[in-house]
Point group: C2
Chain length 351, copies 2
């Protein structure tokens, strides 16, 4: 099969062995002689998948049993709602770093007061706000660790005297961080974690049960905690795919993954800075190692650069309409060689 260099922003490239394991499980799941997608989720084979997919997250994050690991449906967009519904009694603090943070804020305002402590909206979200202090009278503080659309990433997290909540959809497991500093982490799976269709939620149990409103059964974290993410039929295939990816991550080690991701990002950003035809769109200190956004200084060249990328079998490089230009997403499974191919196309590109 032709090798495609897959820079898609998500759903995104996955390790080859993950896809191979998914294929194999579709054909004969765990020795059942049945396909993964036609067996009961209550059978011992899938229960073992769900259990390991939970315990492996705890192992990789190095967190204790005061946390629960959930696999829910509805994407990070449903977490915007569940976070506020389960945790916002009076007032919450948010940092606004882009489209997804804005959507989270918009939803939260229906459940209580929201203070936006920092926002880069006035500069089309091209940097990460930093000069704010989080007061201790908030129900929680919410931030977005990486902004897929705008190409920025939080390289440090603020001191936080209240529960710290983070949407890590687009950079989870891409680097070593102190996961224990967070009280709730969520991530749509479809970037670094596995196939679309499931959302990881890691939650410190002691932050729950502090609001007074009625929380519908399916939106109540307690429902899913009590039943180990099996209150209703989970997204079986997606959870299986996550487990395969988690095994790959665990085998690589987060430290090695982080080094490899830095190497890829350095290679691409060096070329963006060196090449006079291109420029990056974000503040240099806030550049994302997952999603590099850049434009051609002369946007009349866009079509011919896109054509050069296509000829080199580079896929998914078109920028989001909010920023324009180009976006190279370099998730964990993307090879350095693919970044080199893109850099070579940039080097050889003539105006």
């Amino acid at each position: 099969m032709k090798q495609i260099h897959n820079f898609s922003a998500g759903p995104a490239i996955l390790p080859k062995e993950v896809i191979d394991n998914c294929v194999s499980a579709l054909q004969n799941f765990s020795g059942t002689h049945l396909s993964l997608i036609e067996v009961s989720h209550r059978g011992k084979e899938f229960v073992a998948v769900m259990d390991e997919a939970q315990s492996l997250v705890k192992k990789i994050m190095n967190i204790g049993d005061d946390y629960e690991v959930l696999y829910l449906q509805g994407g990070a967009s449903t977490q915007f709602l569940m976070v506020a519904m389960n945790l916002l009694e009076n007032r919450a603090a948010y940092c606004n770093t882009g489209t997804w943070a804005s959507n989270a804020i918009k939803e939260a305002r229906h459940f209580g007061s929201v203070d936006v402590l920092g926002s880069s909206e006035e500069k089309n979200f091209n940097y990460i706000p930093k000069n704010y202090t989080i007061g201790n009278d908030y129900d929680y503080f919410h931030c977005t660790s990486n902004n897929t659309i705008f190409g920025t990433q939080m390289h440090t997290f603020p001191e936080c005297p209240v529960p710290l909540i983070c949407d890590m959809s687009s950079d989870i497991f891409s680097r070593k961080i102190n996961f224990s500093a967070f009280d709730l982490i969520y991530a749509g799976a479809q970037k670094n974690m596995g196939p679309a269709g499931t959302t990881l939620v890691v939650i410190k149990k002691n932050i729950l049960n502090k609001v007074n409103r009625y929380i519908p059964t399916m939106l109540d974290y307690n429902t899913h905690i009590k039943k180990g993410s099996m209150f209703n039929t989970p997204s079986v295939f997606a959870v299986f795919g996550c487990l395969q990816t988690l095994k790959w991550i665990d085998h690589q080690g987060l430290g090695n993954i982080e080094m490899y991701n830095s190497k890829k990002a350095d290679l691409l950003y060096s070329e963006i800075d060196r090449n006079e035809l291109f420029e990056g769109t974000t503040a240099i200190e806030d550049r994302s190692k997952m999603n590099a956004t850049f434009v051609l200084k002369d946007d009349k060249l866009n079509d011919s650069f896109m054509q050069a990328c296509n000829e080199a079998n580079i896929s998914g490089i078109k920028g989001h309409r909010s920023v324009g230009g180009f976006r190279a997403s370099m998730y964990n499974a993307l090879q350095l060689e693919s970044v080199q191919v893109l850099v070579d196309v940039m080097k050889n590109f003539k105006s």
Copy 2:
């Protein structure tokens, strides 16, 4: 590979060509040279999948453009909530035929008044209530067409002067019915429709926008209608699997599927009635053609019957704990030969 006779209640047996097509798309999706689970859901290849998965439902149901077809996440359990939140302003009517109907009623009561017009709870849901009249002052009437756990099925639907809403999770596309009589149909995919991880919602647009409460973005049907089920990343693999199953259903024809399902059900129920060791658990006229529930008159024989089933490569036959005994789920893709194998085991079984 050893042939297993898969009577699982759900996730459940799927046609072999559906699984083959899923395998093939995992390896090289639609000529992209990428896996189905690592391409953008906004790319033209997956957009075509989503479009066809919607239009094919309309074709098979023979419904017009006054309906929208959605693929959502969260399972039928989330629909219990969304139906009430989007449609219940004052008072709704429900029919209580089992565990899932009870859960739907429980959730709806948080949003308005609920009248339970019929219930078979007093007889452990072993029949379908029929002698009730639906008044015209309800916001809607909600029923469950097939009860996986208790083995009953609605073979007719009541006259309904208000919007008719039906949870068809476990018998959708198993028979020819007048789908145009319904205003909202929902179904978790993982029985007759495809892999777990997506929920079909078919909705007549004119029933919306009649309640005054705030509906959170992700729970508002309008959100998903406006964006063609692509407001956020859909459950890509599950939707693709549904499309493959829908193609298979369309090719067979609902009339043929219905006849084949009747043949399978008749074969099994005849043996249940003939064989003195066994008895069915439901009212005969309400027996489900999807899930046949039965017990051994002498339950001390359960283990040895289960062993006989195992030896015949029969899988998923254990009854739900609410009923006990045995349950043979005979979804569309189950072969008549598999039912014959089960019937032969029953015939040869000695006390």
